[in-house]
Symmetry: C2
Amino acid sequence: MVSQHTSRGPAPHGHVTLAQVAQRAGVSAQSVSNALNNPDRVAPETRKRILAAVAELGYEPNLSARALRNRSSSLIAFKMRPSRPDKASLLMDDFLYALNAAAVEAGYHLILCHAEDGQAGEIKAYRDLLKKTSIDAFILAETHRNDDRVAALRSWGVPFASFGRSWDGDDSLAWVDVDGRAGTRAATEHVAAQGHRRIGHIGWPAESELGQERREGWLEACRQRDLETDLQAAVVDSLEAGRQAAHRMLDSSRPATALVCASDTLALGVMRALHERGLRPGVDVAITGYDDSPTAALVSPGLTTLRQPIDEVGRHLIQAVDRLMAGDTRDPQHVLLEPELIVRGSSLPGPRTREP
Amino acid sequence: MVSQHTSRGPAPHGHVTLAQVAQRAGVSAQSVSNALNNPDRVAPETRKRILAAVAELGYEPNLSARALRNRSSSLIAFKMRPSRPDKASLLMDDFLYALNAAAVEAGYHLILCHAEDGQAGEIKAYRDLLKKTSIDAFILAETHRNDDRVAALRSWGVPFASFGRSWDGDDSLAWVDVDGRAGTRAATEHVAAQGHRRIGHIGWPAESELGQERREGWLEACRQRDLETDLQAAVVDSLEAGRQAAHRMLDSSRPATALVCASDTLALGVMRALHERGLRPGVDVAITGYDDSPTAALVSPGLTTLRQPIDEVGRHLIQAVDRLMAGDTRDPQHVLLEPELIVRGSSLPGPRTREP
DNA sequence: GCCAATCTTTTTAACGTTAAATCCCAGGAG
DNA sequence: CTCCTGGGATTTAACGTTAAAAAGATTGGC
């Protein structure tokens, strides 16, 4: 079906041009352009004839020419970050896939940025890219308070949206985010429902808005059930940090029986600590993570965690910039999505292991 | 340093054009173009003046205009695949990052494709993209015997290179690959050096050229040391399949004491099986994986595995298409890189756990 | 001091598209 | 019958770049 008649047109490079379609339909090139872009400027009868010719020749508008003429390339740029070895692949892979799918769906293409790490380098990369390619929009990830990138993009007047809230309470920023507070609350309530009363939290330092958000979810859930909230740690996001924090909380005089973590990486550190103490995840101590990284499903027992609705995130981000590009800047999109609790063995008391 | 003088030029959209530089330097636009692209066609003195003007105005050539004129966009396209939930993120993330870094380094940009799964959909996506954007080159991943994509791209005369060998012995294909045979051999020799004599292999079905390659590495190492090779399994790449295969090999009358796997996913399945039997990875049974997925470093004990030199792969792929674009088609690049054995606890006999 | 040969620079045209201006023609008002 | 109106088409010009052709400047030979 697809590849039966690949080379029907006589064009040299497989390119069919507007002029060729025009000739075929017996009209001017401009009329073809109009027929496609401003349907009501051309008589219905003519339009039909033109569309037939378009279909017949398999015409596709040349994006370079369009970009040149319109100063708009239908390209959306995104900068990847190198994945850190210690981290459980922060779902960049899936995010990128989802974002690209949504972009293509909406008639755009995703182009990747590259920059030295650090704000300055990233901003420079954006500017260079803008200078030479008339990028239509940018997608940012992991924005934080007083983000220079936001300031820069805004000062240039380029449409952009962010995966991650504006923590400055800046309503003019379009963002899509996942509700870490609700997610962590759900995880905490889940382990509480298993009968746990000493529920600790291992999260990130207070500078991290995201971490703060997640910690508050845990706090809320604990307070609502009159549970103590003395077992908490604020550490960097690494397996080793999680491991050490877990040991501390288990060495306590009234040790934790459940540990709610701000990331899968930390939760895996907890699992390692349990392993070292000969304790069984789920059976002896309940553990929950956050992100549903691939690892979460692969460890034994599986790690209970929160899955971000990443497809939705992608779709909404594209929709947000799409709207901005259409000139609708009066009411930037703010979308807060709910993560989904994925329950696995690490938080269930059921027997998971055969004793030797 | 970077953002101090962002808006120096008087241009409306921040775009500096060739004509503006020309005027500044007191020459024609063409001379500026020449000074940048054909340095020897312009007198040294003039060139100096022009370059000064270029630097002063911060001129960057407009890629859309170039693309239109030259039929070449300096874009390289790559199609992502959705990550399967069960698989330990097959390093797509890192690969993409490395590929993009190399592309930017070489003056290109990476653009992402999107297509329905399946060969036909992918080919159609390539053709559409080609039709409307004059992509310079394509990068393929996971090519296999009789790959339709290879045939299609070749028939269109587009430069492309593949991450993964041509298994048809087709020398005209430019590829970069990692030597799975050598890698698996190294892993096998490593466990043999720990004193293991019953070394099993869990790999993929014979249809998979990649799997076949890895299996042969194990076979070679075993034969060289006169070890039996009866313990082998060919299964799909999933944790569950690895788990079941491991159980079979441990239920054998002369059970395996070491298991060499074709992927981290399979190896994690083995770890789960051991866990179910109350056996300790490393101590009781040695395990090795393949890919050094993020998970490998995060499980307890860490998983011994093979790391693909992904940065190198990216660099060589870009170099390969770069060369093809320069018209040098007579001698397509074939690059076979060595993976690196990463030794972790899963293959070491040392005590890894504190008994309760 | 004149012509040819060479080196350097400018002019012209084109890549494919589209906004803006222009042209054309049927139908209605005066 | 002329003039105006306006929908519907076409022409013009421009987006920024570069290959090719043309023009201009410089040098050397005789």
